[in-house]
């Protein structure tokens, strides 16, 4: 083992407990999100199913499913990847691993409180910010601790020159506390007046769902793609350009066209969304240059497929996000199933796939064990990818069909809502496939975690036994 490998494994070991805490909880919430999403979509097969059950009514289960995916899986998985990646690329181990370990548990506790809150009817009523106050403060402080530790690791880096993935991740660490505190203070603690609430909620949703996820996911992709293909990243200035344009234009999207707000707000948003094509193309070009014509080792093939598919989905969901802000197109797509289709593509297609790849790469190294079911992990790629396609495509196509019918006042609303049902029922099969894929992911992550726990127990036992024996000998 040479010096570099020795340092690498020292770094991997230093984030072991934090990563296990973050990823095991994330995997659990991922399955919870799938199950809640399935319960929600049952409403379109049998609307009477939960007539007597307030906890499972569509208006509560649907936001709970979305938040379980976003807050339960996406954010902790992203934070874990960011922590490991900043440690690895800065060539410095994480110090005081107990703090991120505790913070990870605090985060997952916050998600638990939030989900129960939504299902019990304590939602705040704002899209992507439904968690009640009792959940948002633990989430906020847990994030602060985790971000602080990641930043300290970054600050202590031995390699002083920074690389593109680090910019994306550091910006993301800083992004969330600002938007989350603003949204919670102005919407929940001291609510602003009237329709300003909606503007703040849209701003928050765009900055979390589009910008934060893009920063972490694209940052991870920029790190892993060249690494899997075993070539040095050569597109420094293009990546810098992608970073700047993404944070500048991405953060100004999100106000829907035709909203009942002063007209300059949606106009500004649609201009920013049109310019979004620039960072989208830049990201795709950087990724393409990293992978073009490379031959992959068998070991990295699985994670590579996940991250590559994630970048493609990022581009597609970015295009859909642009379409929703384009006045001509959104006349048809606004208020239709096209809106949730974009969100699901962003969450599952782009972010979750990228994180699967990253975690399948990181966790075995960090925990020091092989994946328990590597073949299943390879199958999961195709299962999850077809799940995303079957979830998003029917919703998007159904959304366009629904929008075209809504434009024609001669078609009654009941006819329109019934004609979207077949699309929704097809998308349920997509959710079933995603649940299957997520179960495989959980199996692998939990298997790794328990293998590590068993080995720790064994070592502890050995330690307990060893001194006893020597003591006996001395006596």
């Amino acid at each position: 083992m040479n010096e570099i490998e020795k340092l690498d494994s020292e770094i991997d070991a230093s984030c072991r407990v934090s990563l296990l805490a973050l990823f095991v909880g994330a995997a659990f919430w991922l399955v919870v999100a799938s199950v809640l999403g399935l319960i929600a979509s049952l409403n379109f097969h049998m609307p009477e199913a939960f007539a007597n059950c307030p906890w499972l009514t569509y208006g509560r289960v649907q936001p709970a499913a979305d938040d379980a995916l976003l807050y339960g899986f996406c954010i902790p998985a992203g934070l874990g990847v960011a922590l490991w990646l900043l440690a690895r690329s800065g060539r410095t181990p994480v110090r005081g691993a107990l703090v991120p370990f505790v913070a990870a548990h605090l985060w997952h506790l916050g998600v638990l409180v939030g989900l129960i809150g939504i299902l019990a009817g304590y939602s705040t009523g704002f899209r992507w910010l439904e968690f009640p106050r009792g959940a948002s403060s633990p989430l906020f402080y847990a994030y602060l601790l985790l971000a602080l530790w990641a930043m300290m690791t970054f600050g202590a880096r031995r390699e002083r020159a920074t690389s593109p993935p680090q910019w994306f991740l550091v910006a993301a660490l800083f992004w969330f506390p600002w938007i989350y505190s603003t949204a919670n203070l102005l919407l929940v603690a001291w609510p602003v007046r009237g329709v300003t609430q909606a503007v703040v909620a849209w701003w928050f949703g765009d900055n979390l769902l589009f910008v934060w996820l893009a920063l972490v996911g694209v940052g991870a992709a920029f790190y892993f793609l060249p690494k899997f293909c075993e070539r040095p990243p050569q597109t420094f200035y293009l990546a810098l350009f992608a970073f700047w344009t993404l944070v500048l234009f991405g953060s100004l999207c999100g106000i829907p066209q035709g909203a009942p707000v002063p007209a300059w707000l949606p106009v500004a948003s649609s201009v920013a969304a049109a310019l979004l094509l620039v960072p989208l193309l830049a990201v795709v070009i950087v990724a393409w240059r990293a992978v073009r014509g490379s031959v992959l080792s068998k070991w990295d093939h699985g994670p590579f497929c996940f991250v590559g598919a994630g970048v493609v989905c990022f581009f597609l969901s970015g295009l859909m996000w642009m379409a929703l802000a384009c006045p001509e197109i959104c006349r048809v797509t606004e208020f239709t199933w096209f809106v949730p289709a974009q969100a699901q593509l962003q969450l599952y297609g782009f972010f979750a796939l990228t994180m699967f790849g990253a975690i399948y790469h990181i966790l075995p190294r960090s925990a020091g064990f092989e994946l328990p079911f590597p073949k299943l992990a390879r199958a999961q790629f195709w299962i999850s990818l077809s799940g995303v396609a079957l979830l998003v495509a029917p919703l998007a196509i159904g959304g366009v069909a629904q929008g075209r019918q809504l434009q024609n006042p001669g078609i009654s609303f009941a006819v329109i809502s019934n004609s979207t049902l077949p699309f929704l029922r097809v998308s349920t099969t997509g959710q079933l496939l995603l649940l299957l894929g997520n179960l495989i992911f959980v199996l692998n992550v939990f298997g790794l975690a328990s293998a590590w726990k068993r080995s720790v127990l064994k070592k502890a036992l050995a330690l307990v036994k060893a001194p006893l024996e020597t003591a006996e000998v001395q006596a």
Binding site: F44, P47, E48, F50, A51, N52, P54, T57, Y58, G59, R60, Q62, P63, S123, G125, R127, G155, T162, Q166, W167, V170, A171, F174, W175, W178, L186, P191, V192, R193, G194, Q197, A198, V199, W203, N207, F243, W244, V247, L248, S251, L252, G258, A259, P260, P262, L265, A268, F335, T336, W337, V339, Q402, L406, P409, S412, F413, A414, V415, S417, L421
Partner: protein, 299 residues
Amino acid sequence: MKNGFRIFLAALVALGFSWCAFVLAPVLQLGAEKQTTVLNSSDLYPVQRGDFAAQGLQVYRANGCAACHTAQVQQDGVGCDVVLTGMGTNQPADFKAFMKSLCELPDLQNCSDSLSKNLAAWNGALPKILLHGAREADAGKLADKLSAAGLKSEVRIVATGPDIARDWGLRHSVAEDFLWDDPVQLGSVRIGPDLANVGARFPDARWQLLHLYAPQVVVKGSTMPPFRYLFKMEKTRGEPAPDALKLPRELAPPSGYEVVPTDQARELAAYLLSLRAEVPLHDAPFTPPAPAPARPNKP
């Protein structure tokens, strides 16, 4: 970008700019918003909801009604309707000939097509909309010609667009409509119809309650899940309770029992009835319709 401070600065600039634009500026512009006056009147709008209806907004929030329903109407633009209200001394045959001659006038070129289309299938009932959503100048010209011939007509300002044509509202929603709402529940998907004016469309509380209990009974083909947990079954004591639901036989409770709304259901119904943005404002003008006799429920 050799050091971390510059990354921090880049994020600070980008997010700070977006924060100033989409948080600070709207708060400054709209944060101190007050009631406005109704167009051509001194009435203030919007009127604050009563406690009961305001509590209903919390039921609406808690049950995530906004996951399926928007509460914002949109419009394409504003146009003018020319409405024929009286024939004066003209005979129907003369009127038709006169209208035919009007359609050939170069002055009315822009609207002759829609004019002849609107008259083709007319059975003679008044008031009759001769022109819908026309430009102000065209509407004015037509009205002048009509009054010169001794016909009585009105020019009305109307909003146009698919939402308006669906009878979801008389004008688009504007910021003022949501002044007293907390939380503001605009919604983003129309899995169900828009609710911005549901109180005007279905002004009967009993209808609202029955719809919450069994949507398919009152709206044929509705895909809405029933909200039976907002109701309770009680033993009938003597006379049936005044707000007991009148259910069809297949849903009716066993004899001796009745289904009555809980407080939550009553509050929610009161909130839904309070959703009616029916007055013209400076930002959203239209000519209010003449007060009609009590409107029946329209789907």
